[in-house]
Symmetry: C2
Subunit: 572 residues, 2 copies
């Protein structure tokens, strides 16, 4: 965009591309509704007020025009879709900017994965602001696909790929001043650094903030959020598929502190995006909770723009991006139309057919990410004892319990015992074909027979399998590998449902509605095999995450997270 040309339109000397007339502009600066006109040129707002001429003019008949919504923190990979199809999902809900952390693909493909996500986001009507994954790998007790040290992160910054540092999950490393963590913070000292420190309080919280971390999206209670806000962290209230903090945290919001509060979705599966929405759902819910609409919208627009220093958006004002949400009623806030960069891109819940969603070719580092040493895979668990440490999964929670249970031993091997909901679990290195694998047992998945397998397993995203018998586990695991990554349900030799995720083993290359149908079919297949969980695959994807207590399984073995070490399966 030439500034000269924009100025000529702003002055009224040249016609705008578009004028929205009879608009009720939601002014997030003043907090007022303005009945006015909005002139757009070259994707930007040129002017506000009467008297602009334009090639194209639309009478909004008094509809509200709010700034495009900003998702302050989201992992696109959790939508199981590429950025273009994520955009198809969220744009109709008014999200025009997503601040993304490509943490999942970074664990698979490193800087190449981050670069791929940035490339796959270019040219989309959704603005994707990429943050640098700060903690790859999560710990030393796993095999993952890549390591991102401070130098590589700085390269991503220097190359203009990333805007800041994404959620710094290694909060003990920050607090204790670990050299590698401080190096990463130093590389981003002039940039925004998002936090992730569930439950942190008091002195350790002071240290975390003193290090330069500026936001937090892991709060679960008002007390926790209030303390973190008072120490200077922006609070990003999260409403994910699995972590639903919105309603518990809305009582935090008041007239005096709301400028420091934003909304984010973190992780949402396609069905939630398509049925419930995204940031628009959070705005709606906040308004229904009694928060005034302009405050609710500020948390979705101006506030995240200020936190991230994205001063070209977050408000409708001259020179800013012409990203608009049109709705007829601020109280129910149902998004009727969405403009991105001055262009109408979605209406009545659907992307307009004319909108192109370019998707790049998938490079080999990203497209051939499943590398398993099958000759070394062995699901047999020799019974080296009688009592075992068993992972106790809890529905809708990432934390697990450690349960000490008697093994069911057959032919000298511990086996699954579906009558006690005791299933076998395996985590297999799928990055380096090292043959590294961890074996254990888990309760809470409820399968009476068959097995689930998938390559979505936070954060290392190894091949994880949970099953009632070894044959089903083999079938499910091989099905996943045959798809170059994905999720599968098997019953004996038969594969009952599958969702290919050939992009890093994390994302589909298909349209979001197709992904959603396949995912629904997976859930139905698991239910048919006895699982009572509403989403056993999301649940499974966190059973290998060795940074969240208490007992988890990686390819290195069982991890006691509180002790932060590998422990034996058998205790006696």
């Amino acid at each position: 965009m030439q500034l000269d040309a924009l100025l000529a339109v702003a002055r009224g000397d040249e016609p705008a591309d578009l004028v929205l007339r009879n608009a009720r502009l939601v002014n997030v600066f003043s907090g007022a509704i303005e009945e006015t006109e909005i002139a757009v040129f070259a994707g930007r707002v040129a002017g506000i007020g009467a008297g602009y001429q334009a090639a194209h003019s639309i009478d909004l008949r008094g509809a509200f025009v709010a700034p495009g919504l900003i998702d302050a923190h989201v992992h696109i990979e959790s939508s199981l879709c590429m950025p273009a199809q994520f955009a198809r999902g969220v744009l109709p809900h008014g999200v025009t900017t997503a601040v993304v952390d490509p943490h999942e693909i970074a664990n698979v493909a490193g800087a190449a994965g981050v670069g791929f996500m940035a490339a796959a986001s270019r040219g989309l009507p959704l603005e994707v602001v990429v943050m640098a994954p700060s903690c790859v790998p999560a710990t030393h007790m796993e095999t993952n696909g890549a390591r991102l040290d401070a130098a590589e992160l700085r390269d991503l910054l220097d190359e203009g790929v990333v805007h800041g540092l994404a959620e710094v999950m290694n909060f003990p490393g920050v607090i204790n001043g670990s050299r590698d963590v401080l190096d990463k913070l130093a590389a981003f000292a002039e940039r925004k650094q998002d936090g992730h420190a569930p439950g942190l309080t008091g002195k350790p919280l002071n240290a975390y903030v003193a290090a330069g971390i500026g936001s937090e999206h892991e709060c679960t209670t008002v007390a926790e959020a209030a303390e973190k806000l008072a120490r200077g962290l922006y609070i990003l209230i999260r409403q994910a598929t699995n972590a639903q903090n919105l309603r518990p945290l809305l009582p935090l919001v008041n007239a005096s502190n709301n400028r420091r509060i934003c909304f984010c979705t973190d992780d949402r599966i396609p069905g939630d995006i398509l049925d419930e929405g995204s940031i628009d759902f959070m705005v709606r819910t906040a308004i229904a909770h009694g928060i005034d609409p302009i405050t609710a919208l500020r948390m979705a627009t101006l506030n995240p723009a200020e936190w991230f220093g994205l001063h070209d958006r977050g408000a409708i004002a001259p020179g800013r991006r012409a990203d608009f949400v049109i709705c007829d009623d601020l109280q129910d806030f149902h998004v009727r139309q969405v403009y991105a960069g001055g262009r109408l891109v979605a209406a009545d819940g659907l992307l307009l057919p004319a909108v192109e969603l370019p998707a790049p070719a998938i490079p080999p580092q990203v497209g051939s990410s499943v590398n398993v040493a099958w000759d070394r895979v062995d699901f047999r668990v020799p019974a080296h004892g009688r009592r075992m440490r068993v992972i106790g999964a809890l529905e809708n929670q990432l934390v697990t319990e450690e349960r000490l249970l008697d093994a069911l031993v057959v032919d000298g091997a511990a086996v699954a015992d579906p009558k006690r909901d005791l299933l076998k679990m395996a985590v297999i290195d799928r990055h380096t074909a090292s043959g590294s694998q961890g074996l254990g047992f888990i309760q809470g998945f409820g399968l009476q027979r068959g097995a689930l397998a998938g390559t979505v397993a936070h954060d290392h995203h190894n091949l994880v399998v949970i099953g009632a018998d070894d044959a089903s586990m083999w079938a499910a695991a091989r099905a996943v590998a045959d798809m170059r990554g994905g999720i599968a349900v098997a019953d004996g030799d038969a594969v009952r449902a599958r969702l290919p995720l050939p992009v890093a083993g994390l994302m589909s290359d298909r349209p979001i509605d197709e992904v959603r149908r396949a995912y629904d079919a997976l859930i139905a297949a698991a239910a048919h095999l006895g699982s009572p969980l509403h989403d056993p695959f999301m649940a499974m994807s966190f059973m290998a995450l060795e940074v969240i207590p208490k007992l988890k399984l990686t390819d290195q073995g069982l991890v006691d997270v509180e002790q932060f070490k590998i422990v034996d399966l058998f205790v006696g």
Copy 2:
């Protein structure tokens, strides 16, 4: 500061330098008052909360601790003091950061002058954030001491001397897309750009904002400020010596828009700083007007920190600068003590004696700035007509009137006529010794005899003289030159009062209280000669400013500002 060491203190593993106990912390994030303790280390806040050990601990007995105040826009030169003595003036009033525009010295000494102000600010307990003067010279209708084009401004940015672009006064140039102005904006595209556009509204305002300007401190009415705020400009409410916008603009402030409002002083003479205060006076006045204290303080702390991206201050939080204002009552807000960088620097209105105020040597470009071709100076005005264009000065206003009056002619020359308050005025190039001089007549200064002269004359800061007779004008002008710049009052051959300003002809090298006494003596001397103005020197300093209507005098001659051209003295 080593981050490792700060983290160790924050964690509680190492003692702090200082702990303030029994504090009532004014939390500008949450809007609440916290009864707590504040641990300080290496000039930063290390932690908030109980349980910190320290070498030194102070019981505040329940006093309030607010963040150090930020003056969002000020010309230090207007204090007639060097940065160190300006610091002596404002620190006891709680101002710990000043965002300064060295526009005056830049007009005298260019980039060297800007660099000098930055150098003279280093090592002070006052944090001085230097912005780049954007409009040097103001117009082509003057001779000034330097020209700063986009390339030189970019050099200042690259060298780390400046933080952003100071008030872009050439708003017609912005709006009309003048190449040289757009080049300057482009050089600072990633930085903050302060505005200055009195009265701008509607489409031209849209264009000004679209160009990237982000603030405005020239508003005089609530309606003007409300429109500019709604378009996205931060509103810096100003309370200068000559432009007092605070009370008229306080009704602008409400719960919904106050986050976009800051305080600034722009230009204050020493007496006002010492007697009335600075930003603290604005906070006090706002509270007295009924604005709640935390909102008032936010406009002086967090808001300017956010606008300028100064994320290491503006709030009391871990990692931020330990700049504190201590007071016993938030309603009257009298600053009792001031901490800057963790150190007690002022108490009970005075800088502590132990605080050093380093001042650099004055380089030749700055110290020998008065260069007049005396052999070409001639105050005689040949009577080329009968009626003259006369400048009509209005007390407390920068705008003037054009008055058409009959000349008093003696020996073929137009002369002053004190009976009609018609004085002669001269503006003499004092930068390049070119011999360029403008002559005219002015009403409103009231001298019955004698003359005033000074080298403070916005923006070019030439030698300006106003007098009742040529002998007095000569004596005053020569006295100023003999001091290498300054202000003088003469009566015939006798110099009645003088204030040397050898630093660029703008600033004294003496302590602020001494400067203040000399300035008071100048005003008394002018009053003795008949001037009814409360500050004839401030008034005189704006009579040569050819960007503010209607009629002004530069060394090039009389300027009709509305026509933006030089006009003849005689009209017939």
